[in-house]
Structure formats: structure tokens, C-alpha cells
């Protein structure tokens, strides 16, 4: 069970109209319900004066409207919120989102490097990547790009020493203890091991980003035929 005693939050300056609230020092899945609880609390308390809020691993960055709140008042609001912070029952944080992946060297250029480095068969790589759901720790780098973890030891591989100029849209990749899927074709330095046909970010969709911070994500292995049937591009 989590206890409030674990929290020793710090409120740090982050510019003229922003604070970074540091709740934890280390990355852990159990952090995320607390982080989300603080986000919900800030949204309710700051209400119209809230400009933006970015939860990430161990912190919550919050930007507020200086024409509505002074810096001193906003800090006092955070202090009172933190003094009484409770773990909310956040139903969506418990729900699991699936990401279907075609794990294959033709769409996963680093799959063989991973297998060689770790002495794993393709089946074992898939088993380790789909064994348990991962947690979304942060969104960033690009719209809808979700940093997920934590990978088991068997899949821990450093980033590429030279990033690729272009990583294909939908690429599923790993780096150190984290995994991610690329919502857009961008440059990137992670090890790509497969591809998902899902559209992870769509500005025209109600929920623009398929993944949100705090989500649990289950990767599921699919065949090339299923990948194509779901609209995947295997080129």
C-alpha cells in the first residue's frame, strides 16, 4: 500500500508564471497515481487560471495566468493542495490500452541487434515485450509520443550512438528501460523492433493522443496480415 508519508514534495521556480512540483526522486510505476491526483487537484483548484499542466515521471509542471493570480498566491495554493493531497481513485489510470505490433526485422531494423546482444530468439523478445503492461510516464518529444516503462532486464539496450534521420510512423522502439511508439515519422535514436498500425496521434480526433500519462499499455503481437488489415503500412 502507498502511504502519504512517502511524499516529500518541493515547489520549485520554473519562470515568471510556472512552478515545478517535485513529488519523487526516482522513476517508479507507483508514482503515477500520485502524479495524476496532483494534476486533477491543480485543475480543480486553479480552474480558469490554469494555462498548462505537464505531468512527467516525478514532477508536475504547472503554468498559470498571471493576470488572474499572483506568484505568491499561486504558490500558497499549491502548498495547501499538497498538504492535503489524497490518492484519487482514477478509473482511467487502471484501464489498459492495447497496442498491436508486428514484430519483424523488415519493420524493426534493430530487432536483430537486440537478439544478438541479448541472445534472444524472436519469440523471446516478443514474450518479454508483451508479458506485462507498461505504464505511461510522460508525453513529449513530439505530439502523442508516450514514454513507457519499465522494461525487464532482458530488453535493456542503450540508444543508438547515431540517431536515425527518419524513423517510420508507428515504429515501436526501446531504449534503456523505456519503450515507445512513434506517432509521426521523425528523427530518433531508439532501437526499433516492430511497428503498430494504430494512429497514435490525430489532431482531428476527440482524444488527439491515444495514450495519456498514467495509462497502462499492453503490447500485443500480430501477424503481417493482421497489421495490413488494420491499415498498417509495411513499406
Amino acid at each position: 500500500m502507498m502511504k502519504t508519508a512517502r511524499l516529500a514534495p518541493r515547489i520549485e521556480h520554473a519562470g515568471v508564471d510556472a512552478w515545478t512540483v517535485r513529488l519523487f526522486d526516482d522513476i517508479a510505476e507507483e508514482n503515477m497515481p500520485w502524479i495524476l491526483s496532483l494534476v486533477k487537484g491543480c485543475e480543480a483548484l486553479f480552474s480558469e487560471a490554469l494555462i498548462d499542466i505537464v505531468p512527467s515521471y516525478t514532477t508536475v509542471w504547472i503554468q498559470y495566468n498571471l493576470t488572474k493570480l499572483s506568484s505568491q498566491v499561486s504558490r500558497q495554493m499549491l502548498v495547501s493542495l499538497l498538504q492535503d493531497l489524497r490518492l484519487l481513485d482514477i478509473s482511467h489510470a487502471g484501464s489498459i490500452k492495447e497496442i498491436p505490433v508486428w514484430y519483424h526485422s523488415s519493420v524493426g531494423p534493430e530487432l536483430e541487434r537486440l537478439q544478438d546482444a541479448k541472445g534472444l530468439s524472436l519469440g523471446e523478445v516478443i514474450a518479454f515485450h508483451t508479458e506485462n503492461p507498461f505504464r505511461v510516464f510522460a508525453l513529449g518529444f513530439a505530439p502523442g509520443f508516450a514514454f513507457m516503462g519499465s522494461l525487464p532486464d532482458a530488453l535493456v539496450l542503450p540508444r543508438l550512438s547515431t540517431p536515425r534521420q527518419q524513423v517510420a510512423v508507428g515504429s515501436v522502439a526501446i531504449a534503456e528501460r523505456q519503450t515507445a511508439a512513434y506517432p509521426q515519422a521523425t528523427p530518433g535514436g531508439w532501437n526499433v523492433i516492430g511497428r503498430t498500425p494504430l494512429r497514435l496521434f490525430d489532431p482531428q480526433r476527440e482524444a488527439m493522443s491515444y495514450l495519456q500519462v498514467g495509462d497502462r499499455v499492453q503490447f500485443v503481437s500480430i501477424t503481417q496480415q493482421e497489421f495490413k488489415r488494420l491499415g498498417g503500412d509495411d513499406r
Partner: protein, 307 residues
Amino acid sequence: MSHPIFRVIQAGPLAQLQDAGRFGVRHLGLTQGGPMDLESWALANQLLDNAWGCAVLEITVGGLILECLEDVDCAMTGADLGATVDKSPIPLWQSLPLKKGQRLAFGSPKQGLRAYLAVKGGFDAPRFLESCASVQREQLGGHKGDGSRLSREDVLFASTLFESASVHKKTQPRAFDQITDLDLIPGAQVHLFSGRSLFQAFNHVWKVDLRADRMGVRLTGNPLQVKLPSLISEGIGLGAVQVPPDGCPIVLLNDRQTIGGYPKLGSLTPLACARLAQVQPGQSVRFRACGQIAASEAYAQFLSRFQ
């Protein structure tokens, strides 16, 4: 209704529409966009009695030629890019009428880097998430809605057409200094820098590197020593000054990534970011430490002058 008011005869390296920016979406990884020089942008709108947030054309470096398709009142602020109307130099920092058929041309930077061209009532453009701020990397905003910069033959639209004003407003021109002082609020990670590096950060002059764009501006000088190469990524705001392992600070600006994990010296104030946006590569800047409360009050006052 939307009215065509300018046709692009020559696009130049980078001209794009910017309103105040895109907010409420940072948690999805979407960046802010908006004007790099917030002060000049706000003044351009104010000269025409436009509301805060009206879309203005941000012209970086120059090279743009526009043909007027209607009579329109406009105002130009920011960098002196040698602007002319039908080859006659025109004044900055004041509103002025343009006539149908005239050609507005921008040359090259004499002072500063980014000029702002506002039209009465604001430019009209597709809005996404309540903003038409152009972000090329995200393919969002701008005159076409896809983040693209102006290109030849593109047409710009105004929201409404107005009669030309009888009185034209002026404002105090911005001073451009030999060395630009940048107010920096020291952050909670200053302890990660050696004492000597902290001294250097605030007492030596930094040069703006060629690697400077709407995402961020890299500064070169005596490299700073940081005790940790990287931290756990966290949300980063406009003006955050991060220092990667090479010791050269990078000031994160309007099109920055939303999270980052390099140690930070602190944050520039929004008005310091606006000054930095006008400093050309090779020119010098200096950090000036300031207190957070005073800087917040100063920025609140700035906003209340315009909103």
C-alpha cells in the same frame, strides 16, 4: 467573411503567421508556438487597436515581398529589415495605410532579426485548438493550417476590411544594444553547477550560436560545468535555460519540446526571450540574475498594458 489582402511575390527564408500561441495542450506533447518577440508582436497589434491575440505576420531575416490586394492599415514593429513600400523606406513602430497595388518589400536585417507586420483587425487563418500559431514541426497553424511558411503566390487574408484611420499611432522604438542583457530567474537546479561556473554564467558574455531557431537558441562561451549529465525529464517552460554536457546553454523558446532532462540554470523572463529573439548569431548577450517575484510582477504589468 475573409478578405484577400496580400499576395506573396517573394517568400524569403521564413515568414509565418503567429497569434499568442497554443495553450492547454502541453500535456499532449504539443508545443506553444506564437511570437518569438512577444513585445514587438503585442505593440504591432496595439498600434492598430487590435485585441491581444490577433494573428500577425512574423518575418524572420527578411526577403519577403507582398503585393497589397486592398487598401489596408498596417503596423510594423520589431527588427529593422529595411522595409520599403514601392521602393521608398517606411517607418517602423507606427501604423500606416497601404494602398491596393502597392508592394511592401523587406530587405535584410539592419537591426534585429524578426519583424512583425500587423493588419487592422488581424490576419484570418484556420484555427486549431483555438489558435492559428504556426508550428512547422507539428504541421499545425499558419495561413494554410498545416504549419507551412509563406511561399510564392500564397494569399493572406484579413478578418474584416476597415476604412483607413484618420489618425495614425506611434510608439517608442525598441532599443537594440551592443550586448543584450537577459533577465534570468535562477532555478532549483543551480546547485548542480560548480561555483566557478555559476560565476562565469552571470559574469561572462555569451555569443549566440548559428544553431538558433524557433525551438531554441544555443549560446557559446566558456563552457559551464554541470555535476550531472542529465536528469529525469520534466515539463519545461518558455525561456528555460538548459545546459547539456558540452556546457553550452540552450535557451528553450516558443517551439521547444515540452519535456526535457538537461540540468537548468533557470528561466529567462518572457520579455528577455523577446529580446533574445532579436539577437543575431555572433552577437553577444549577458545573463542578469533577477528575483522571481519581481519578474512576475513586471510581466503581469506588461500583460495588463495589452489585455
